[in-house]
């Protein structure tokens, strides 16, 4: 039968672990180790073990804290706990799509390559209107730069027209994420300072607030 040893599980910081380990060594290994001065190599090992215990205890406390709605800090945990209690957020979502944007550029006269001096840059939040019925407006979520190409944001280059067997025009194609919506601006006046002022925006189907700036150009969060 295994020997029952007195191990306490409630002392969980560095100093408590250290003193518990010293007491443990004194109780169970009195013939193997007796030097408990801070300079001894054995104490160095004991303190290293106490340090590991201290760090693990921190994470254990942190994990436990995340299981309580009133103490959780991680947003995904907070949402999970809220869902568990029956909360259903009334989030407004918008239609999203991937747009293909193309541009035709001439070939350079020297080596018959695309002339990137003609390549355009379309800024983010530019609006694109659908030709279908309803003429829905889309906003580009990212900048479209035909000069730039990477594995993350590639520019596809194809020959559009040939003249005398050599390319005379190229077509540059990029893909960009777009979402359906409009950017609107609303202005509110403040006369006196007020802590945590609350404003009601007089509109429907608000997806989110992009930014808040004052008349001096300062950004507020």
């Amino acid at each position: 039968m295994a020997e029952t040893r007195d191990i306490k599980y409630i002392n969980r910081n560095f100093d408590d672990f250290r003193s518990q380990l010293i007491e443990y060594a004194k109780s169970y290994f009195p013939d193997s180790y007796n030097d408990f001065s801070p300079t001894s190599p054995g104490m160095m090992l004991i303190e290293m073990a106490a340090y590991v215990g201290d760090v693990l205890s921190f994470y254990q406390d942190n994990q436990l804290q995340e299981t309580f709605l009133q103490h959780a800090k991680n947003p995904s945990n907070l949402y999970s706990l809220a869902y568990m209690m029956g909360y259903r957020p009334k989030a407004t979502t918008v239609a999203e799509t991937i747009l293909e944007v193309t541009q035709t550029v001439d070939a350079t006269g020297v080596d018959n390559k695309p002339d990137f001096d003609q390549a355009l840059v379309i800024s983010e939040n530019s609006t694109v209107k659908s030709t279908a019925q309803g003429q829905t407006t889309y906003l580009l979520s990212d900048k479209v730069d035909f000069n730039f190409s990477s594995s993350y944001d590639p520019t596809e280059i194809t020959v559009k027209t040939l003249a005398g067997g050599v390319p005379s025009e190229f077509m540059l194609k990029k893909k960009v994420h777009a979402f359906c919506g409009k950017i609107k601006t609303t202005t509110e006046s403040f006369t006196t300072s007020e802590k945590f002022a609350t404003l009601t925006i007089d509109d429907d189907n608000i997806v989110g607030v992009l930014d808040v700036t004052d008349s001096d150009g300062n950004i507020w969060y």
Partner: protein, 136 residues
């Protein structure tokens, strides 16, 4: 006739009771124990001198800047500075140790820096010496 009383640590009278651990940890079973206070103190001194200040968790004053000092040009002023650092550190962490001689030297041809100290322990008849070679 008067005679000087010498103290003996009770552990030194119990040959089967280990005092501390020897460093470096490289015996068959990793740790080898020492059974005399003299050996334990010597190992504690080695551990102390080879620990850099700030290296020990929650004990930032533990250790010396000896290792850093040894890599500087060894001149008379530096030797005095090292001796002062060692004596100050011993006063705090080893109050019973009385250093007799402290020597610092360098052997550039073999890329070696040496630190030597002879010492005695107060109220005992223990005398010992310590030599630390640091290969650069």
């Amino acid at each position: 006739m008067a005679f000087e009383v010498r103290k003996i640590n009770p552990l030194d009278l119990q040959p089967r009771k280990a005092v501390g651990l020897n460093i470096p940890f490289r015996s068959k079973d990793v740790f080898s124990s020492n059974y005399q206070t003299k050996e334990a103190i010597k190992n504690n001194l080695i551990n102390f001198f080879l620990t850099g200040r700030g290296e020990r968790y929650l004990n930032p004053m533990f250790g010396t800047r000896l290792r850093n000092m040894l890599f500087e040009n060894i001149n008379e002023q530096k030797v005095q500075e090292i001796e002062m650092i060692v004596r100050d550190a011993l006063n705090i962490y080893f109050p019973r140790i009385e250093p007799d001689e402290i020597k610092t030297g360098s052997d550039p041809d073999n890329n070696l820096v040496t630190f030597y100290m002879s010492y005695s322990i107060a109220d005992t008849n223990i005398e010992d010496e310590l030599l630390i070679n640091i290969a650069t």
